[in-house]
């Protein structure tokens, strides 16, 4: 045994010597994208696309790949569901280190910030600006880039998300989006003559009232602690993070104050969250007895999960959907989330261009956007979908709090189009998001030992320290 230990030391010493010998860097970085003069030359390429789509969405995608291939028969799309968003990120992360990344991927802004450490993502500005003409298989042509009308058709909040990286460049195209909406038990509200709140002050009063009506209830459930924190920052206009300079700005009095306020709410059983209740708050919202809630703030894409199960072929109550409460209803802020698409650098520029053509097809095709939205419950990213006849007639116009709840949710989202915000993305932005979520959980539930302010102060400081450590 002693011998083994000595040998181990020897081995390590040996390794140490080797280090100097292998200090070379295995640079797998793909070359910067440069637009070839010919644009797309029609060459045969295979494009790998990583996403998280379930089976029903893959069907939609497959159908539109067929459509796309009518225009570009030589671009073969090979798509793959990798798992969750995090799985996509982790998979690509490891693949980038060996230069094996896909061409296109579902992404969140912080993923792109991470990939960009390796300078792996193509900046889309040149492609968007390009006025090269591309001839398609059916003889028609299209502009390589985006026309002004196409750009204007995007919901601006969604489109601008692609530019949140601090260098002014555009890296992602929005594919389908969601936000947070307030679901409320319309039947209950009407029976008790309540109106959905528009501000947080109204919310507080409302919660008190509901607690009087049903003392065992928790009136409000807020699914995502992190979204809650970040949205409050936006609504108050207080700093959260910055893409440049000092990144982590969220430790300030405004933010501590609203956290302290929500802590009181939690103590009074006004509110709970996903982590604190141990499950999506829709479970409470849908519950028919026991502890239940009458309002739930959750993803607009999850509307069907907020609908109670049918009893005797009828919904026990009707669901109402509205914008989440605001600090200033005149200047509303709601979060923008949902997947975007990014394109990775490749040695063969034709592959990049082909990827772009496909991304452009998915994001600007009204038919695809409409169908994808209807199947997924996500919101389309272009406004003209609202004018699409099928979408309008078969979907939006039928919106109600029962069978067509997804449409109702989409409708609310489309109506608040001006309110979308996105937060800066940089290396460490996801840590910040995680940390403020944890901070909310902790501050709402932890035993303060009598000194709430001190506990909150410590939690904020810890969160900032953790963010800095992770970003360092």
């Amino acid at each position: 045994m002693k011998k083994i230990l000595l040998a181990t030391l020897l081995l390590l010493a040996l390794c140490f010597n080797c280090v100097s010998m292998v200090a070379c860097n295995n640079s797998n970085v793909a070359p910067e994208f440069e637009m070839p003069e010919v644009g797309y030359d029609g060459s045969e390429v295979t494009i790998n696309f990583y996403h998280t789509m379930g089976a029903n969405l893959r069907e939609v995608l497959d159908a539109y790949i067929v459509e796309f291939n009518k225009l570009y028969p030589n671009i073969h799309i090979n798509h793959q569901q990798v798992g969750s968003y995090d799985d996509v990120r982790d998979q690509i992360k490891t693949e980038i280190t060996v230069g094996n990344q896909p061409h296109i991927a579902y992404c969140y802004p912080d993923h792109v910030a991470l990939y960009n450490l390796a300078k792996a993502v193509v900046s889309l500005d040149d492609l968007i600006a390009s006025d090269l003409e591309v001839t398609r298989a059916d003889g028609t042509t299209e502009t390589m880039g985006l026309t002004d009308e196409q750009i204007a058709d995007f919901i601006q909040g969604y489109y601008n998300e692609g530019k949140q990286f601090g260098d002014g460049k555009m890296y992602t195209m929005p594919l389908s989006k969601s936000t947070e909406v307030l679901y409320y038990n319309k039947t209950f509200f009407e029976a008790n003559n309540l109106t959905p709140p528009t501000t947080w002050d109204e919310m507080e009063a409302l919660c008190e009232k509901i607690r009087q009506i049903d003392p065992t209830c928790i009136p409000l459930g807020y699914d995502s602690e992190a979204n809650w924190f970040i949205t409050m920052c936006e609504q108050y206009g207080s700093p959260y993070t910055s893409a440049t300079g000092e990144h982590f700005l969220f430790d300030n009095d405004t933010n501590r104050n609203f956290v302290a306020r929500f802590r009181e709410w939690h103590q009074k059983n006004y509110v709970t969250t996903k982590e604190l209740s141990g499950g999506y708050t829709s479970d409470l919202f849908k519950a028919q007895d026991g502890t239940r809630s009458y309002m739930s703030i959750g993803s607009s894409a999850g509307a069907t999960h907020q609908r109670p199960d049918k009893v005797n072929d009828a919904y026990p109550f009707e669901v109402g959907i509205t914008t989440i409460p605001q600090v200033d209803p005149a200047n509303p802020k709601v979060i923008s989330q949902g997947p975007s698409l990014c394109i990775f650098k490749k040695a063969n520029q034709q592959e990049v261009i082909a990827s772009w053509l496909f991304v452009k097809f998915l994001t600007t095709s009204v038919e695809f956007q409409a169908e994808f939205s209807m199947v997924s419950g996500y919101v389309p990213v272009i406004k003209s979908v609202g004018q699409n006849e099928v979408y309008k007639n078969e979907f939006l116009d039928k919106a109600n709090g029962g069978d067509f709840i997804a449409a109702l949710s989409a409708k609310v989202c489309l109506e608040q189009e001006a309110a979308y915000y996105t937060s800066p993305a940089f290396n460490g932005s996801s840590t910040a998001r995680d940390q403020v979520g944890l901070l909310m959980q902790k501050c709402l539930s932890a035993d303060a030992n009598g000194d709430v302010a001190a506990m909150i102060k410590k939690a904020f400081e810890d969160a900032v320290a953790e963010c800095k450590y992770q970003a360092d």
Partner: protein, 297 residues
């Protein structure tokens, strides 16, 4: 000399001595069994809990006072778990990877162990010590570099990548070498005198004698394939190469909302069952393999 003993004997009523001795013996046996059975219940309870939970309905599972015997037995959880995860394919993949890697691993292990146990060459002991030293380094670290390596070899998404990187286990070499060392050297000398080749000797003498160890290694290796999770997830995510643990895990992370624990328990039970069966039938070899590693440590 015997006086003192005599006195003791006379003072005691012999019959009393014997009967009290018997009583003590019975009491001690009783306590032994009580302790062991109590511990056995504690050990086995989680498995029982898993099994009963796996056949409960979700509402029964959530009762405030859990039932120790399910009111109704729902095998539908198993069907659901099985369907959700495409278990048939996963089973086959895992079996394939397990068998091939076991076979190759055995060959490599036997050859190396033989070299370390019977052949003489310069630097043997140093090399062996170095090999053992690698066992002390946390294996988690190998992942990043190995990922880059297999990718450079172009092995991504294949059975190769699931099999080759873990073919050599220093631990198995060590185990088998210890076993080979116990085989008297005279047998080898006799074989040499008879003109038997090394390979033939290995095949005809060493392997039969070390068979229990080889069986133990086989089982441990198969168990490894059955339980592996981190590496396959990283390098072979395509459905056609997916292994059982990953398949199950993926099947349950995709669903939104809270997990249906009874179905999850059913899945855990399905994954655990083959191992239990193997264990029950080959108990002796597994235990021998594991304990041999210990006794010679």
């Amino acid at each position: 000399m015997s006086e003192s003993t005599m006195k003791v004997m006379q003072e005691k009523d012999l019959r009393k001595v014997t009967s009290s001795q018997k009583a003590v013996k019975i009491a001690v046996q009783f306590m032994l069994y009580a302790f062991l059975i109590l511990m056995a219940i504690i050990i086995i309870f989680p498995f029982y809990w898993m099994l009963i939970s796996s056949v409960k309905s979700l509402s029964e599972y959530r009762l405030s006072v859990p039932t120790l015997f399910p009111r109704e037995i729902l095998f539908s959880n198993y069907v659901e778990a099985f369907n959700q995860a495409n278990l048939g394919r996963l089973f086959l993949n895992t079996l394939y990877v397990g068998l091939v890697s076991t076979l190759l691993s055995l060959v490599i292990t036997v050859l190396s162990a033989f070299a370390f146990a019977r052949l003489e060459f310069k630097g043997k002991n140093t090399l062996f010590a170095l090999l053992l030293a690698t066992m002390m380094i946390p294996g988690e670290l190998f992942t990043i570099t190995n990922y880059a390596t297999v990718n450079a070899f172009g092995w991504m998404d294949s059975f190769t990548v699931l099999i080759v990187p873990f073919l050599v286990s220093v631990f198995y070499i060590y185990l088998l070498r210890q076993n080979f060392m116990q085989i008297p050297n005279e047998l080898y000398l006799a074989a040499k005198v008879d003109g038997t080749s090394d390979l033939k000797y290995l095949w005809k003498v060493m392997i039969p004698l070390a068979l229990p160890t080889l069986i133990s290694i086989t089982i441990l290796k198969m168990m490894g394939a059955w339980n592996s999770y981190v590496w396959p997830r990283l390098v072979a995510n395509k459905e056609e190469y997916r292994l059982i643990t990953n398949g199950l895990r993926n099947a349950f992370t995709e669903s939104t909302g809270d997990v249906n624990i009874p179905v999850q328990m059913a899945a855990v039970a399905i994954v655990s069952l083959p191992l239990f069966l193997v264990f029950i039938f080959l108990r002796k070899y597994i235990m021998k393999g594991v304990s041999r590693s210990g006794i010679k440590g």
